[in-house]
Amino acid sequence: MKETPLSACERDFILKAIEEKKRLDGRQTYDYRKIKISFGTDYGCCFVDLGQTRVMAQVSCELVAPKESRPNEGIMFFNIELSPLASPAFEQGRQSELSVKLNRQLERCLRNSKCIDTESLCVVSGEKVWQIRVDVHMLNNDGNLMDASSIAAIAALCHFRRPDVAVQGEEVTVYSPEERDPIPLSIYHMPISVSFSFFQQGTYLLVDPCEREERVMDGLLMIAMNKHREICSIQSSGGIMLLKEQVMRCSKIASVKVSEITELISKALMNDKTARKAGGRCGFAESMPQERITALKVDETPVETADVTEKASSIIKEAEAPPPTAPSPVVPVPGVGQVGLGLQNTWGVEEEEELEEFSSGDDVEEVTKMEEDERKNTKGDVVEISDSEEEEVVILHPEKPQKAENVKSSFHQKGAPSSKKKTKQKP
């Protein structure tokens, strides 16, 4: 399904509003939309709401062989899924330009900034390391997917616990969460991406563009930074020329925003930890708003099952007995093999016959007599032509018991072709 195009008047309206320092949702130039961070029931699952934009991140781990170039480092894998749920323009299973851009930016933001201690993910050097996989699913696209996914990914990584492992000699034991408490990842710092959009060739700047604003913007600048004011990555897209001062100004704004967001993440993590410690229920099910008119929840409800057994019995009684099914008539035509229950198995018969040949001497004589005749005729030729010693033996001493030992293994394959050869040579 195609995206509905933005009409010219909508475009003009948004641009004019920006010129007047006004935004559609009433924000100021440097304001972020409301950020809500919640965690799922299992470890490493994080939901981020950035205004109407919704993103879910799920971290999972797996024991794999390390890369050859880095034998004692764990592997980080990031995957941003632009699910068609988020926007009708996103297609299932196709790598669009946007998804490549987002994936790359997230990798640079989280992997290349070395915010996660990958060496601590090594179990046995060169053999077993943890692969940490981060899946980010877009649920609703209302602009600024990058910031939302970077927040979700880092919060999910902080929330994640991997199973404990013990190495004893060659043996690696992975403990289930019941046996030993799972271990959190060691995270040095939390890089967070902040997006700036530029309008009118860089004259106007907005923080956290919404979807409408993203569609009319001229250029985008994404700065990933941690709370120590260290820049982890900068990416400018849209082909806009920026002045040095503009980039400096953006990095200053980013540092403020990043410290705010980091605090929010830490707070959310703390809340979740205390909730888990208290043994209360947590997760998506609990985060569902109760006060909204569109939401409703009911408690555990028993189901009345008094008459179920009688009903089931009566249905079965009323049901007509299935007609007795006769097994389909089978007329084996010579040369047709059939397999199935109650049928004569014709598979592997040849093999058995041949084995029998060698086990009972009388049969062999009868069966091989004809062949022998042939062989006698062509004896000389065959010996000359065939390289195989075994074949020679077959031909020269067909009924001696010692031959059976030699031939058994090779006769099935070679017997048939060799006899063919002979028939060919006959004329």
Partner: protein, 219 residues
């Protein structure tokens, strides 16, 4: 081993939120215990020429797993949901158009398929698509001791001998779709159908309540 009379049959607490996403035409998240699924519907909209059906709308169902890419398991769930929805929806009212239903798994703690069905129905209702009837999904598990458990958790699913999911329509409580796993007798199957029909009444009552609440003037 025959099923003993079902004794403690209950549905876990369940809930639903509708129109929680701004982009889709209809959206819902359905929660059953810890299992939760988010559904979004787009359409009726323009359809690709290759998928166009001249006398009715094309329904596409996508199930997104939480980790990794969709696999065979998701494909089979998609098919179960699609066939149920095609039966319930009046697709002939929108010929040559497309309907897309996307289901995102948020957490799997058993009875995932029934949760998907319920979320799908709520999302279709939210999108305001014409339907001939509503539907709901109920999962029944037969434990190793022959007890019927409705709406099982994943731990109960693992221990069970057989697992059945039924989609049940709201008009006559008929079975629209069934998906089973494991071995069971005819009697057990009939009992599970009967239990599911009973359980479906609770869910339809919930649908009714949530719609009433939604169009009420006060909470």
């Amino acid at each position: 081993m025959e099923v003993s009379a079902p004794s403690n049959v209950s549905l876990r607490e369940f809930g639903c939120e509708q129109s929680l996403l701004s982009r889709p035409d209809g959206s819902a998240s359905f929660v059953q215990g810890d299992t939760s699924v988010m559904a979004g519907v787009y359409g009726p909209a323009e359809v690709k020429v290759s998928k166009e059906i001249y006398d009715r709308a094309t329904l596409e169902v996508l199930v997104q797993p939480k980790v990794g890419l969709p696999s065979v398991r998701e494909r089979s769930q998609e098919q179960c949901v699609r066939e149920t929805c095609e039966e319930a929806l009046l697709l002939t009212l929108h010929p040559r158009s497309s309907l897309t239903l996307v289901l995102q798994v948020l957490h799997d703690d058993g009875s995932l398929l029934s949760c998907c069905l319920n979320a799908a129905c709520m999302a279709l209702m939210d999108a305001g698509l014409p339907m001939s009837c509503l539907f709901c999904g109920v999962t029944c598990a037969i434990s190793a001791y022959g007890q019927i458990i409705t709406d099982p958790t994943s731990a109960q699913e693992k221990e069970s001998r057989a697992l059945m999911t039924f989609a049940i329509d709201s008009k006559e409580r008929k079975v629209m779709m069934s998906s089973t796993k494991g071995s069971f007798s005819v009697h057990e199957l009939q009992q599970c159908v009967a239990v599911s029909q009973r359980a479906s009444e609770r869910i339809f009552q919930f649908y009714r309540d949530s719609v009433r609440r939604r169009y009420s003037k006060s909470l």
